[in-house]
């Protein structure tokens, strides 16, 4: 950006010199075509014109240089203050809607986005530290009980519980890691084409007995045509299995769970719908958040991360996760663009 300052000054001077040159050209032209007194008068005034032109050029250049300098200075000041730690600073737009305003706006957008990411990260770190307290304290008390147990049979049982609690803790950490990996878009190199119908059929077959044990039914509405997707098969499978597991866990009472995949108007949708209690509209944003549990009774192993992971995996594929009312129940849908950009943004 600092390079535009001397460039603009040069443009100002150039404008002045061009004005001068055209003056001389006009005089020369008239001189060639006519030969009257007007010309003599013009010729006499030529030095004055030259002086005025140069002066005008310098003044214009100066004004432009000063304007550009001021605008750049404004933006640079904001950048300096943000660097110094005042993250609330933003570039003030002028009324002129010029290139500097656009630049300022872009810088403001960038700062907003960075700020949002920082807030999210801070919240995640806070909630991670907070949410790990209960599994860690469960682990601690299990270890304590194992140490206290005098009967070998009981001690074995308690030690098995210690291992189970440690595994639950690992699962939470793995999922958190998976979420941040997905959001960093690192796994895009493992994208490949596959039929989402095949995958959905496979997962439905896998979870159908689980749903049945939970007293529900699970059905997959397979479309007639294959629906090809360029994506990460394992991660999409994981996102879908999270949605199906949620449906089995919370929505199994009632009639049944329906898995569907569809494609229309360049949009691909993988949906899992249940007839359970659903999530009220005002709580849906909270449900998508990491550790965003809707009630504390759900504080089982890893709970509160499934939907956040599904969201992160949808983002990895330039899509999103939508929660809707299934009237009654919850309809969770991963929406992905059917034709994808080539470059990883």
């Amino acid at each position: 950006m600092p390079r535009s300052l001397p460039t603009t000054v040069r443009i100002g001077l150039l404008a002045g010199l061009l004005a001068l040159a055209s003056n001389v050209a006009v005089v020369g032209f008239i001189h060639w075509r006519t030969n009257n007194q007007l010309l003599d008068a013009l010729e006499d005034s030529l030095p004055v014109a030259v002086a005025l032109s140069i002066l005008l050029g310098l003044v214009c250049g100066g004004i432009i240089a000063q304007y550009v300098g001021r605008r750049v200075h404004d933006i640079a000041t904001v950048a300096d203050r943000v660097t110094a730690g005042d993250f609330g600073q933003r570039v003030r737009p002028s009324q002129s809607r010029d290139a500097f305003d656009r630049l300022g706006q872009q810088i403001n957008d960038m700062l907003d986005r960075t700020g949002a990411l920082m807030d999210e990260l801070r919240m995640l770190t806070d909630s991670l530290a907070h949410d790990l307290r209960s599994p860690v304290s469960r682990l601690r008390s299990a270890a304590h009980s194992a140490a206290e147990a005098s009967d070998p049979g009981e001690r074995d049982q308690q030690l098995a519980n210690v291992v189970r609690q440690a595994d639950a803790l690992m699962r939470i950490l793995t999922t958190v890691l998976e979420i941040s990996r997905s959001e960093a878009l690192t796994s895009r190199s493992q994208f490949a084409w596959f039929d989402i119908g095949d995958l959905a059929a496979e997962l439905s077959e896998m979870y159908e007995p689980v749903a049945e044990e939970a007293g529900a039914s699970l059905r997959f509405d397979r479309p007639d045509m294959p629906i090809e997707l360029l994506g990460h098969r394992q991660l999409i499978a994981q996102a879908m299995s999270n949605l199906i597991e949620n449906a089995v866990r919370y929505g199994a009472d009632g009639r049944g769970i329906v898995v569907s995949v569809s494609q229309r108007r360049g949009q691909l949708e993988i949906a899992v719908a249940d007839h359970g209690p659903g999530i009220p509209a005002e709580h849906r944003t909270e449900a998508l958040r990491r550790f965003g549990r809707l009630d504390s009774s759900r504080s089982e192993e890893g709970a509160g991360l499934g939907l956040a992971l599904a969201t992160a995996i949808a983002h990895l594929h330039d899509g999103k996760l939508r929660l809707d009312d299934n009237q009654p129940g919850l309809r969770a849908a991963i929406e992905l663009p059917a034709t994808r950009r080539l470059a990883g943004a």
Binding site: E178, S187, Q190, M206, H232, Q234, L235, Q238, V248
Partner: protein, 227 residues
């Protein structure tokens, strides 16, 4: 039937724990503490199995693995790693390893995988009759027909795959994660008891109405098919 295993692991505690456990199983374990030494010892080619940590000093595990495969050393490799994301697992498997185990793991899980890899090598050396027999159970992988005491069992496709995998690992512990990876080809951890549900369905078809059960639950580890 002890085997020669090369353990390439820089963490002293983990290495000692694994070497002790594998030693108790009757295997002889040689150790290397960095990637370069590991590669040097592995290219000898006299090992039955290499257990390779992914993050090693001097030369990382994946580079060692690629170098080994490039040098046409086909010894089975089990990669151990603290890198737990699905992407990391896929990368680990695609770089030429035979199995990938995420830290922390139970010794039972490691042992089950070690045995499965050693077994695979065994069967490669000795190609048997294409039918698999476990007690009075007979599986024909070509027609996918399963009989027990001559009676035909009606299995769904996935149930058949599950049973075939169990049968190929007859008498060995098979963990839930191994089943998920080998029978379903999923490399993530489903939170629910999905594997248990499928195994218990298979068990009903396999063992109900017969005096002697074939499919056993191994507490704290997984399952085992044995006559």
């Amino acid at each position: 039937m002890g085997r020669k295993i090369l353990l390439v692991e820089d963490d002293r505690e983990t290495a000692a724990y694994l070497a002790k456990g594998l030693g108790q199983e009757g295997h002889s374990v040689e150790r290397a503490t960095n990637g370069q030494d590991g590669l040097f010892q592995a290219t000898d080619g006299t090992f039955d199995l290499i257990i390779l940590d992914r993050m090693l000093p001097v030369l990382d595990g994946i580079s060692v693995l690629k170098a080994l495969r490039a040098a046409k050393v086909e010894t089975p490799v089990l990669v151990l790693s603290a890198l737990a994301s699905v992407g990391d697992r896929i990368e680990g498997l695609e770089s030429g390893s035979d199995d990938y185990l995420v830290k922390p793991f139970s010794f039972a899980e490691l042992l089950a995988r070690v045995n499965a890899l050693l077994r695979r090598r065994e069967s490669r050396i000795d190609p048997a009759d294409h039918r698999i027999k476990v007690g009075d159970l007979e599986i024909d992988p070509l027609s996918r027909i399963v009989r027990r005491s001559g009676k035909k069992l009606e299995l769904k496709p996935r149930e058949y795959l599950l049973l075939e995998y169990f049968a190929r690992n007859e008498g060995r512990v098979v963990t839930r994660t191994m089943l998920l990876e080998q029978v379903w080809d999923y490399h993530f951890d489903p939170g629910t008891n999905v594997i248990d549900v499928h195994v218990s369905r298979l068990r009903r078809k396999l063992d109900d109405g017969f005096d002697k059960p074939l499919l056993h639950t191994v507490r704290g580890a997984g399952y085992m098919l044995a006559a």
